[in-house]
């Protein structure tokens, strides 16, 4: 890790970034960023549909929101944030030429993402056992559609992390080959980003 820190904060590093405007660079593939924008628009549309549906049913939404498991929601927020952090560390390790160390960080990120899936499944099972379904109320319809749409993105993100782990383990990533790991990491951070709005919107706002 010391090597990593030294490489990243060496005195020669700082001025090149701060003063050189041409150093601006979009990480990963351009295509993933268009995909991320499309995803953000889709999630944004869902969030606003929820918010304006709530405006017409405030009492129903406030009442049924109380039955949500905020502890599970907060725990899942922490798991996704931690997973994002570990993936950042993986990218930094790759940037420092330590691809196999990056694989270890990615494995940690995958474990946190998998933890999210487990917590979410427990939450769904409890909800279904309580008779919640897509048709049981407007609130439940939005809760299930929004969280499940996000859940599917987490699943895809885990597949991507598994692919990155495999590549990193084989020493594929390094300062001269950051494209794959940056592209996958960008997608994973997007999954985290939309949850940061979903959690206060659906679980807390009243």
């Amino acid at each position: 890790m010391n090597t990593c820190v030294q490489t990243l904060v060496s005195p020669s590093a700082a001025p090149a970034v701060a003063s050189d405007g041409s150093a601006r660079r979009l990480p990963g593939d351009l295509a993933i960023w268009f995909f991320i924008l499309a995803e953000l628009l889709a999630f944004g549309a869902f969030f606003l549909a929820y918010a304006f549906a709530r405006a017409n049913n405030v009492e129903l939404f406030n009442e049924q929101q109380l039955a949500l498991d905020r502890n599970a929601g907060a725990l899942n927020t922490i798991l996704l944030l931690t997973s994002s952090y570990l993936v950042v560390r993986a990218v930094q390790a790759a940037e420092a030429g330590q691809s196999r160390r990056a694989a270890t960080w990615i494995a940690g990120g995958f474990a946190c993402g998998a933890g999210f899936v487990v917590v979410k499944l427990f939450e769904y099972v409890a909800k279904f056992a309580a008779g919640v379904s897509l048709s049981s109320s407007t609130f439940h319809m939005f809760y299930l559609i929004l969280t499940f749409f996000h859940f599917m993105h987490v699943i895809l993100g885990l597949v991507i992390l598994a692919a990155l782990w495999n590549g990193a383990r084989k020493g594929r990533y390094g300062p001269g080959n950051m494209n794959g790991i940056e592209t996958g990491a960008a997608y994973w951070h997007m999954v985290d980003l939309v949850w940061l709005i979903l959690f206060p919107l659906v679980y807390v706002m009243r």
């Binding site: 990593c4 820190v5 490489t7 990243l8 904060v9 060496s10 020669s12 590093a13 090149a16 970034v17 150093a23 601006r24 660079r25 979009l26 990480p27 960023w33 953000l40 628009l41 944004g44 969030f47 606003l48 918010a51 304006f52 709530r54 405006a55 405030v58 406030n62 905020r70 502890n71 929601g73 907060a74 927020t77 922490i78 944030l81 931690t82 994002s84 952090y85 950042v88 560390r89 990218v91 930094q92 940037e95 030429g97 300062p175 001269g176 080959n177 950051m178 494209n179 940056e182 951070h189 985290d192 980003l193 940061l196 709005i197 959690f199 206060p200 919107l201 807390v204 706002m205 009243r206």
Partner: protein
């Protein structure tokens, strides 16, 4: 394209910040999450509380966008698009909340 750049690029500068910076940001993100959770646990409601919730969400989102996604060093269009999305979504949620208060 970038794959053909000099392998010494990382020696000149980092596009992804330092591990220390990433760790400090993680601590801030977790602390902010605990604030949001405790607001929920205490049944906080009303415009001021909702304003706080989405100010926190915006701040967390900005850290993810600028630092974890590394858009701080990307061409300006990209951080502006992502932050613009956050701003728009948070503002419209605020308008919807206000509409619900008035109803």
């Amino acid at each position: 394209m970038r794959n053909h750049e000099s392998p010494t690029r990382a020696l000149h500068h980092s596009d992804h910040g330092t591990p220390l910076r990433a760790t400090v940001i993680w601590v801030v993100l977790i602390a902010a999450t605990i604030v949001t959770w405790s607001v929920g646990e205490n049944g906080g409601s009303g415009p001021a509380v909702v304003g706080l919730l989405f100010a926190i969400a915006f701040g967390k989102g900005a850290l993810i966008i600028l630092d974890y996604m590394a858009l701080r060093r990307a061409p300006l269009m990209w951080p502006l698009l992502a932050l613009g999305w956050m701003t728009l979504v948070c503002a419209l949620i605020g308008i919807a909340y206000w509409k619900g208060l008035a109803a």
